[in-house]
Amino acid sequence: MNVLAVRDLHVHLGESHILQGIEFDVREGGVTALLGRNGVGKTTTLRALLGLVDRRGSISLAGEELAATATHRIVRRGVGYVPEDRDVFAGLTVEENLRLAERDAEPRYDLVYDLFPELKERARQPAGTLSGGQQQMVAIARALLNENRVLLVDEPTKGLAPLLVTQVADVLARVAELTTVLLVEQNLGVVQRVAHDAVVLDTGRVVHVGPARELLADRAMVHRMLGVG
């Protein structure tokens, strides 16, 4: 059963044709990694799924077509978002950041504070004064407060120290037990740890789909498609 089915997704930004007919599926209950070199359109894909950029094509969430739906309605259908630069509201406190994200009748504060006890301590602290790692916690917590069908997570370990990377990977593993995740990630160690499926992009197109383990085991393919290793 596919949580997300994307067909023929196109995005134009200015004169650039950024996404040129993206197609892939996200299996329910798993972590699908969206991989590719810098600039191929991974973040744009997530933003397109959310309607944050103008897009053409078909996006269906558990069978429901969302390509013409406004962002806030897509999110209310059960799509959580952890953006690339965290995008926490600096002028709001941690507690206010979380409160803003509340959607369901019973937001899952127990879960969130269990995963991130530090957030409870720093509830009154303005989010702008948090460290990068702490802001990442807020960003993930925000998305976890509500029950979502799928979580779109964009480079959660970017710019974090190795210890924090491990912590985030742990959190992701736990989150994956609860929700389907579409994960954009450059850190292949994290991908190795949590991802089941992999979708690889290159210049706006999907060039490979398959089990994550297989892809990562093939060094030649990894080097060719992701430019590393």
Binding site: H72, P83, L100
Partner: protein, 293 residues
């Protein structure tokens, strides 16, 4: 000394007037990215709604006549602003350019309409006589309307701050001023906040219109446009989107204008404000509070 006190309180009163207009402008720009050139029209509409209602209540004594007229002004101003947002601004969602242009056209059209109906001349307005009387403060004879303006502005500032900090919509607006897209990505329909902010701005501007009627003793169709320019200057100096910056800037502008007009020469006050804008922008292009300009 007494002159100085009079000047200071008058300056604060003017600053209060500017703040009432500028607060809405600042919020609207901060949240929506729209430079609302129709904001002066909200003031004019509020001012003339007050005058119109008062003129229909000739039989009543002054105080109820004034209060009902003032209330009418506020309601009409708020409703008008909300309608403008719903009918003209919302359909142009995400097309900021067109939104600004539409407000330009609306500003011109509304003032022209008011002139068409009531003529170009200022119309005297009825208000309780104690507003026109003076109170003595440190030897200065200060007209009471100044105090009312200052109190009104403080109430609006306090009310807005409480609203922003204490309510869900206030939270949404504060977050939206920082990052509108992310707010929608949390599943919140920001467009409702847009209409609300316009309505709030409309009421505040209408209040400026009502109190301006008292301060200048008349309702004048051209006042909205001329005050709007000062309001823009106040907002840009203070930093677009920052309520506190706007408040500080309004006080500074009001005081500078009064002091310069008196201690330098009449008319120089307005020029000093302009000079102040130039200096602030050259030193800090993002305004005093450093918010996005």
């Amino acid at each position: 000394m007494s002159t100085f006190v009079l000047l200071t309180i008058t300056g604060l009163g003017l600053g209060a007037l500017y703040f009432l207009i500028a607060s809405g402008l600042s919020l609207i720009y901060g949240l929506m990215g729209v430079l609302n050139f129709a904001h002066g029209a909200f003031l004019t509409v509020g001012a003339f709604a007050m005058w119109f209602v008062e003129s229909k209540l000739g039989g009543l004594s002054t105080l109820p006549r004034f209060l009902v007229g003032a209330l009418a002004g506020l309601v009409v101003g708020g409703v008008f602003a909300a309608l403008v947002e719903l009918v003209l601004i919302r359909p142009l969602y995400r097309r900021h350019v067109e939104q600004v242009l539409v407000t330009v056209g609306l500003g011109l059209a509304t003032t022209a309409l008011v002139v068409a109906i009531w003529g170009n001349d200022a119309r005297p307005v009825a208000y309780p006589s104690w507003l026109g009387r003076t109170s003595t403060v440190f030897g200065a004879h200060v007209p009471n309307d100044r105090f009312v303006l200052i109190v009104a502005a403080l109430l609006v500032l306090g009310g807005l701050t409480a609203f922003l900090r204490g309510t869900r919509y206030g939270l949404i607006i504060r977050a939206g001023v920082e990052n509108r897209a992310m707010v929608t990505a949390l599943g919140i329909d920001v467009r409702k906040a847009f209409t609300l902010v316009f309505a709030i701005g409309g009421v505040a501007a209408a209040l400026a219109g009502v109190l301006g009627n008292v301060y200048f003793t008349t309702a004048d169709p051209n006042r909205g446009t001329s005050l709007l320019i000062f309001a823009f200057i106040v907002v840009v100096i203070g930093g677009l989107g920052s309520l506190r910056g706007t408040a500080v800037s309004a006080v500074v502008v009001g005081l500078v204008q009064q002091y310069a007009n008196y201690y330098a020469s009449s008319g120089l006050g307005d020029l000093s404000v302009v000079l102040l804008l130039g200096l602030v922008l050259l030193a800090r292009p993002r305004g005093l509070s450093g918010s996005l300009a």
